[in-house]
Amino acid sequence: MKKILLACSSGMSTSLLVSKMRSYAESVGEEAEIWAVGQDQAQEELKKADVLLIGPQMRFMKKKLEKYAQEAGIPIDVIDPVSYGRMDGETIYKKAIALIEK
């Protein structure tokens, strides 16, 4: 099962995206664990994930988290602002899967 972690300032707006991504994954019959956390927990939580996606408003976190993501051996990226604004669960879910499989 794919484990996708989203992070933003307090995990509020990304949790909105989580529900959209989950419902897309369900609609195509894929099983995935998707969850959102605040910036202070991202460092710990990423150890349990296969990929970490950061909300674009917190993109300055990437530099710090990249180090921990490397240690955990998982890919990390910033969600593009347009998909984020649309809360486009499908595009972002596919992107997450592509990052894991790369």
Partner: protein
């Protein structure tokens, strides 16, 4: 084209600032320290709200009301009123954790260092620690102490000074000293500092930091100009799609919380509230109206005048989240980010609202924030009601502000909507 160049230029300046402020280890520890204290602060706030329930003092007898307030008092006295303590432990813990040391020791060393610097006498009663010293009044000293003690502790741990034990002494015994030495040295330094200060006219370190740094800074921060600058910075960061609060609050929170605490003390003592600008002023009257930039007004406008499909969809998507002050869909979806068309209302509306709110509180039309901390996800009106110490005027002011923001946004949203509408028409004609 020129426009784009200017935007690129600004982003090249702002992104590194955001990066520096957010990834600075002290500011990160400070922010996380407040996060540690936040559940306790909110717990205390809830009981301040319950203890000051409106009309209750008119329904039950005076004695019963006093007994009721006394019974609930410890809830906030043990949390909200001594929030400095929890922030200090949080900072010491997080900073030591950052350095990969024993975080819990970092936390308690910071706490002990702070208590060493704290006056331990109240009037003529010795052997007590005045709770006022543990509140926001001691916040600045606490923050500096937590930073320094964590640094000193780390320094001494790295030195790895150990007491050489004769052979035959069990290893566990010599190990117990290895934790002792860094802690003892750190605390000794603070004790020396305390003694040195007792010979100055400031008497205590707390008094020194309070007079030299905290008082002037909070006086500056309680004014309208500094607040407008902070608000504009928050808006500007968000315009570039960067989380403005996270960045600006890490600098302003110590000031805003201190001002908040002064109001809480006055509120609980039934005195005149000293400050308009507080943590809750920002959180309720600027964030608590749909999120940063008061975008609930934009959502209402969308439902009133939106014609294009894109805008209407956005209203549906952003509406429910907006009620709880989460507005990333609006910020990235409208979009507000990098959209020159909405730059004017985006910067102007919060400044106008800040001024209206400030003036109506300074003149006494609306009660000032009572010092309780209301979670920022609390919806509009309820938010203003609670923040002002259970006064309906607080909620009413938010409604007035909402209408003002709608008026400011109206022409700009109209143009944006029209653009989208015509594009959609063109697209459907072509297909």
């Amino acid at each position: 084209m020129n426009n784009n160049k200017f935007m690129d230029f600004l982003e090249r300046i702002l992104l590194p600032i955001a990066d520096k402020l957010n990834n600075n280890r002290y500011l990160t520890a400070l922010r996380d320290g407040f996060m540690v204290a936040l559940p306790l602060i909110i717990f205390g706030s809830i009981f301040v709200v319950i203890a000051n329930f409106p009309f209750l003092d008119r329904v039950i007898s005076k004695d019963a009301y006093a007994a009721y307030q006394n019974a609930l008092g410890p809830a906030s006295a043990a949390t909200l009123s001594i929030m400095g303590l929890f922030v200090i432990i949080g900072i010491g813990y997080k900073l030591t954790q950052h350095y990969g040391g024993e975080a819990l020791y970092g936390g308690v060393v910071a706490l002990a260092s702070f208590l060493i610097l704290t006056p331990q006498v109240l009037g003529k009663t010795a052997g007590v620690i005045p709770t006022s010293a543990l509140s926001a009044q001691g916040m600045f000293l606490g923050i500096f102490t937590a930073f320094t003690s964590a640094e000193l502790y780390r320094f001494f741990v790295k030195k790895n000074w150990a007491i050489k034990m004769p052979p035959g002494v069990p290893e566990a015994v010599s190990k117990s000293f290895s934790a002792l030495i860094p802690i003892a040295l750190t605390l000794t330094i603070f004790l020396v500092v305390r003694i040195l200060f007792s010979y100055t006219s400031f008497d205590t370190v707390q008094n020194f930091i309070y007079t030299i740094i905290q008082k002037p800074l909070t006086a500056l921060g309680s004014g309208l100009p500094a607040t407008i600058i902070a608000v504009l910075l928050i808006q500007l960061f968000w315009f570039f799609g960067l989380h403005g609060q996270i960045i600006v609050n890490s600098v302003f929170d110590p000031i805003w919380y201190t001002l908040n605490d002064q109001n809480l003390k006055a509120f609980q003592a039934g005195q005149e509230l000293p400050n308009v600008i507080t943590k809750q002023f920002i959180d309720s009257f600027l964030v608590g109206m749909g999120g940063t930039g008061m975008t609930l007004a934009v959502i209402v406008l969308i439902f009133l005048i939106g014609r294009s499909r894109q805008i209407k969809e956005l209203g549906k998507l952003g509406g429910p989240a907006g009620i709880f002050n989460v507005n990333e869909p609006i910020i990235f979806g409208l979009p507000i980010v990098m959209n020159p068309l909405v730059l004017i209302p985006w910067l102007l509306a919060p400044v106008v609202v800040t001024i209206i709110t400030y003036v109506s509180m300074a003149t006494g039309i609306v009660p000032k924030p009572a010092g309780v901390i209301v979670p920022w996800t609390t919806p509009i009106i309820i938010n203003g009601f609670l923040a002002t110490g259970n006064h309906w005027q607080g909620g009413a002011l938010q409604l007035v502000n909402l209408i003002v923001v709608m008026l400011i946004w109206w022409p700009f949203l109209k143009i944006l909507d029209k653009n989208y509408y015509e594009n959609e028409k063109k697209a459907s004609n072509e297909s």
